[in-house]
């Protein structure tokens, strides 16, 4: 069971993941993020990768600033990253460069804000759907 974290330079994430995949880490278990607001660099993008063959797990972490909150997509390495990264994009507002289909996945397309950010309120958020306006 892994507990230690490897900090990876965000600019090298794709290259690093590809080399791990070549070493037998055939699975990307999850991609998620942690918001350290108001600290800078604000976001941590966390990757859990797994090798069934070696029965080994590793946790990679990239630190990225609040502006621009961007990192390269690893979809080219593991296709499962597609939805995982879309979820992070939707809920944290982190963009993944070269992602084939970067859209919101959980929330409606016209949602305002990114709920898992620490500065997003837990309760009392007002919302309205575009479709409802003028539908009267």
């Amino acid at each position: 069971m892994i507990q230690d974290t490897e900090i990876v330079d965000a600019a090298r994430i794709v290259e690093f993941c590809q080399s791990l995949k070549d070493q037998g880490f055939e699975r990307l278990a999850s991609v998620t993020a942690v918001d350290r607001h108001p600290a800078e660099p604000r976001f941590e993008v966390v990757y859990h990768i797994h090798s069934i063959e070696h029965n080994q797990r590793r946790r990679l972490k990239c630190r990225i600033p609040s502006t621009p909150a961007e990192i390269d997509s690893v979809v080219s390495v593991w296709r499962s990253a597609n939805w995982y990264e879309r979820e992070v994009f939707d809920l944290f507002g982190i963009s993944f460069r070269a992602h084939p289909d970067l859209r919101r996945i959980m929330l409606p397309d016209d949602w305002d804000g990114h709920p898992l950010r620490k500065d997003y309120p837990v309760h009392g958020h007002r919302y309205s759907y575009k479709d409802e306006e003028g539908a009267g």
Partner: protein, 412 residues
């Protein structure tokens, strides 16, 4: 002609030969399956682009059941998070309870007494039976075998009664808590479980007699939704779907938790990777789970069912009302919770659907800084388009059933 693969080819060939109207795309039709559709068992929208009855592309639209559970964790105390874990996957509540509890116990470095560990294993395996029974019943119902559903619900009812006896709840049990169990196991629990588990293997024979050699079932499931195993892994599919494609990976064996290493059971594997193989694997898993429950029942250790950690575990009611110290601990835990040391942990368990992982980050306070759930259904559902593209529309129903996803688990 009845071979679906052959049929699919015939349809595609007929389309190709049909006189071109305004080019290829004009013959394509977009069909919206869902968000409300009986075979999605929840709210899932599948946008299918069809050429005749053949699926050209499938796109999925999820998020209809997103409730922001991960955000909610951040404003609850650690112990208050347990009921949230129930609500992620409503067919595998105890697996979620267990995964969350294990993650936090790892941060707290708590030692869980053997009785609690064994009790957890037993309940989690009953959960697996519960989930697989619902899967089998609804999957067979979708494909047209109606009676199986009634048989499965009959046994599921027994399991829910056992859950109710333990926790007072049938579905959202919240029975596995940080530091042990929520309540002392009820009087006579062993008889109730024994009565159920002694009869259960013969019930599995009954289901099998309805399906395993049923020609309609075979036609609908054999050779359907096959994807090379490397692609399945790449797409994030885990659990029985992977084992049905020839990889004997089970977290209970590869990274044992909660004393699973002390139990004797096998990990069923099939090679074909089709819907039928997934059926075979899950049915065999039910038999293996029954074995585990039986072993837990017979070898249940004596002793406490909660960790010796008064700052984490709520005191006994009797003590709370008679002893000052217990009263203080009770007051502290209920009002401000307990502190969890700074750190982060990724804990996985084998849920009925595959790899369930909780990534928990603590900043040393009484509330989680971040909880992320790596849910098996989310990963599994990503494999669906690859399974149905190029096949007949009717296969979508069989493929979706075989993935056994729970939309609450997908959307969180």
């Amino acid at each position: 002609m009845s071979d679906p693969e052959h049929l699919s080819e015939t349809v595609t060939a007929a389309l190709r030969e049909a006189p071109a109207g305004e080019g290829g795309s004009a013959r394509r039709m977009t069909l919206n399956m869902g968000p409300q559709h009986p075979s999605t068992h929840g709210v899932l929208r599948v946008m299918l682009e069809l050429e005749g009855e053949t699926i050209h592309t499938a796109r999925l639209d999820i998020g209809f059941l997103h409730t922001g559970i991960e955000k909610e964790f951040e404003v609850k105390t650690w112990q208050q998070g347990v009921p949230l874990t129930d609500r992620v996957d409503y067919l595998a509540c105890l697996s979620n309870n267990l995964c969350y509890a294990l993650a936090i116990e790892k941060l707290l470095e708590l030692e869980i007494p053997p009785k609690a560990q064994w009790m957890r294993v037993m309940l989690v395996e009953l959960t697996r039976l519960n989930s697989h029974l619902v899967w089998l019943g609804t999957h067979a119902l979708d494909v047209g075998a109606m009676s199986v559903f009634l048989y499965c619900m009959r046994e599921r009812e027994d399991i829910l009664r056992i859950f109710e006896a333990f926790s007072g709840q049938r579905l959202m049990t919240s029975y596995i808590r940080i530091g042990g169990l929520a309540l002392e196991p009820p009087r006579g629990w062993d008889q109730a479980v024994r009565r159920f588990i002694d009869a259960f293997p013969s019930k599995v024979d009954e289901y099998e007699s309805l399906l395993t050699r049923n020609p309609i079932w075979l036609e609908r499931t054999r050779g359907v939704a096959v994807v090379p195993v490397a692609d399945l892994l790449d797409l994030g599919v885990t659990g029985p779907c992977i084992r049905a494609a020839g990889i004997g990976w089970d977290i209970r064996k590869s990274e044992p938790y909660s004393s699973y290493d002390k139990f004797d059971f096998e990990v069923p594997v099939a090679a074909e990777g089709d819907v039928y193989a997934r059926y075979q694997v899950r049915v065999e898993e039910m038999r293996q789970s029954a074995r585990i429950v039986k072993q837990a029942l017979e070898g249940m250790p004596e002793g406490p069912w909660q960790a010796d950690a008064p700052h984490v575990v709520l005191p006994d009611r009797e003590k709370m009302k008679t002893q000052m110290e217990a009263l203080i601990y009770h007051f502290k835990i209920v009002t401000e919770g307990f502190l969890v040391p700074q750190g982060e942990v990724y804990q996985t368990v084998e849920s009925p659907r595959g790899e369930l992982g909780y990534y928990v980050v603590s900043d040393g306070t009484a509330r989680p800084f971040r909880v992320h759930m790596r849910t098996p259904s989310f990963g599994n559902l990503q494999g669906l388009p690859a399974m149905i593209e190029g096949r007949l529309l009717a296969d979508t129903i069989a493929a979706m059933g075989s993935l056994d996803f729970v939309l609450g688990d997908v959307d969180r």
